[in-house]
């Protein structure tokens, strides 16, 4: 079973931004906790408060940003502009492997 679908942003940020649509998303807190547990990269955390809706950011500087909480069941993955194509491919593969591990039925 496909655990998620991914679509590139077709607009201005084409090539930079990808949206992940999770088939059976866990709740936000569980998702974030699972991501943080498994990610061994030196990520910077951040938050935005949209009228009470919390957006959680995980940033690997000059490589990518992952944004949780923008829409239910969705995660945004955004490359940084300076990341070279090879790095982008490898970073997204890393992210998708992590996502698969988190979402796979136990």
């Amino acid at each position: 079973m496909e655990l998620f679908e991914v679509a590139p942003d077709k607009r201005c940020q084409r090539g930079l931004t990808f949206r992940y649509y999770l088939k059976e998303p866990p709740d936000d807190e569980a998702m974030l906790e699972a991501f943080d547990e498994r990610s061994s990269l030196p990520m910077i955390t951040g938050q935005e408060n949209w009228a009470g809706q919390m957006i959680h950011r995980r940033i690997l500087q000059f490589r990518f940003e992952v944004r949780f909480g923008e829409r239910a069941g969705e995660i945004t993955f955004r490359h940084r502009a300076t990341a070279q194509q090879e790095q982008r491919t490898s970073d997204r593969a890393w992210f998708e492997a992590l996502l698969t591990e988190i979402l796979a039925p136990s």
């Binding site: 607009r11 201005c12 951040g46 000059f62 923008e70 969705e74 945004t76 940084r80």
Partner: protein
């Protein structure tokens, strides 16, 4: 992220300032279409105007920033200049060579170098980073304590032409340069804006409060991806200088109205891409859409967001599906004109005029609620619709009226 920058200040009438220089948010689509218009005729030498407008605004901002932050040393000034460039979404500029009086400066990431291309489907035929070059000239003058008009930035490499990084060389400028300093905050209108139109389900105050939770500073690369576009928190005086100097050059050629029409075209595209992008964004879905019950609410909601962009205070006076009357208090185009040239004899708020038309067409004809893909084909389709809204500036702060008024109808 901690940066050495002067704080942003929200002032009266919806204006935002940093170190007494007005800032306005604009996206890469507007930046591209505006610059494309200005560069149409190479004999106008608008590259120099772009450069100098950037240098003037940047120099004013940086020197006041140093005073506000109590920064005296050259090292501190380099940091302020680098951090201001990044914070405002222009990219990354490496200015440490200035400390050893070197004159070749790298720009590893540039909004103008990398992000304008997302608005087009072809290649660039010339460099696009005149704004960067002017900023670097200003930064050098700021760090070295030289007169700002004595230095120019010469573009050696530009990412828009495929270079891996931008490179700018500082050169001494020719004598007899027609230097115009930035005009700062500029005179504003005396009339206070009324409260938002109450004939809506939208709560503008709540929306502005919610938007204050967004991180609208450049990321660690100095870029500002948001709402599906790349934003810049740009110098209002830069936009005004380049737009109005272009019109001055058109004056007397029989092409003044044509020039005004193209400035409006850039504004219309901004209305489509930026407003459209905002209305399709997750931020809109979270903060504004829950309050919207009618198409008119979408207009009021978008106007609430515009009032966070530093453009002045927009107020909907009349609205239905056939027409809108918008009044703008201290629109940045008028205050800029007044600050630079004094009273105008014709309307000057071309961005605002087209923005109002673009907003109405996007909502009432573009079916933005269904989240169409906002590409060139879709833009053309909406633009060509018979009976689209057209807008006219019926009053202008720049002409001595109490506010700027724009009427759009179909």
């Amino acid at each position: 992220m901690s940066r050495k920058v002067a704080p942003l200040q929200r002032r009266d009438h919806g204006r935002t300032h940093r170190a007494q220089e007005p800032l306005v948010f604009h996206c890469n689509f507007y930046n591209y279409w505006l610059q494309k218009t200005l560069l149409l005729d190479p004999d106008l030498e608008m590259e120099r105007v772009l450069h100098d407008a950037s240098a003037a605004a940047a120099y004013a901002s940086l020197t006041q920033s140093a005073k506000d932050l109590g920064a005296d040393s050259a090292e501190e000034r380099v940091k302020i200049a680098e951090d201001t460039f990044a914070d405002q979404g222009f990219g990354t500029v490496q200015l440490s060579p200035l400390l050893s009086e070197k004159r070749v400066i790298d720009v590893p990431v540039s909004h103008y170098g990398k992000c304008l291309s997302q608005a087009i489907t072809t290649d660039f035929g010339q460099p696009q980073t005149f704004m960067d070059a002017g900023y670097i000239a200003a930064a050098a003058a700021f760090v070295w304590n030289h007169p700002v008009e004595s230095l120019c930035g010469k573009i050696l490499q530009c990412q828009a032409l495929g270079a891996e990084k931008g490179v700018v060389e500082l050169v001494d400028c020719a004598e007899g340069r027609d230097w115009k300093p930035a005009c700062g905050i500029g005179p504003g209108g005396k009339e206070a804006p009324p409260p938002p139109n109450a004939n809506t389900n939208v709560d503008e105050g709540a929306i502005l409060q919610a938007l204050s939770g967004l991180d609208l500073a450049g990321d660690e690369e100095g870029l500002l991806p948001r709402f599906g576009v790349m934003l810049t928190n740009h110098f209002g005086n830069f936009y005004n200088r380049i737009s109005f100097e272009f019109l001055h050059k058109m004056n007397g050629t029989g092409l003044l109205e044509a020039g005004e029409m193209l400035l409006q075209d850039a504004g219309y595209r901004c209305g489509f891409h930026t407003f459209g992008g905002i209305m399709e964004s997750a931020e809109w879905d979270a903060v504004v859409k829950p309050q919207c019950k009618t198409q008119e609410d979408w207009v009021h909601g978008m106007v609430a967001v515009v009032n966070a962009l530093g453009w002045g205070v927009w107020r909907v006076v009349e609205l239905d599906d056939q027409h809108i009357v918008m009044r703008i208090y201290d629109d940045y185009e008028s205050t800029g004109w007044l600050g630079m040239y004094g009273q105008s004899d014709r309307p000057v708020s071309h961005l605002a005029t087209a923005g109002v038309a673009g907003l109405m067409n996007t909502i009432y004809l573009g079916d933005i609620q269904s989240k169409p893909t906002l590409d060139l084909d879709y833009y053309a389709k909406v633009f060509e619709i018979d009976g689209a809204f057209t807008a006219e500036e019926t009053k202008s702060l720049s002409m001595g009226h109490a506010y700027t008024e724009i009427v759009a109808q179909r």
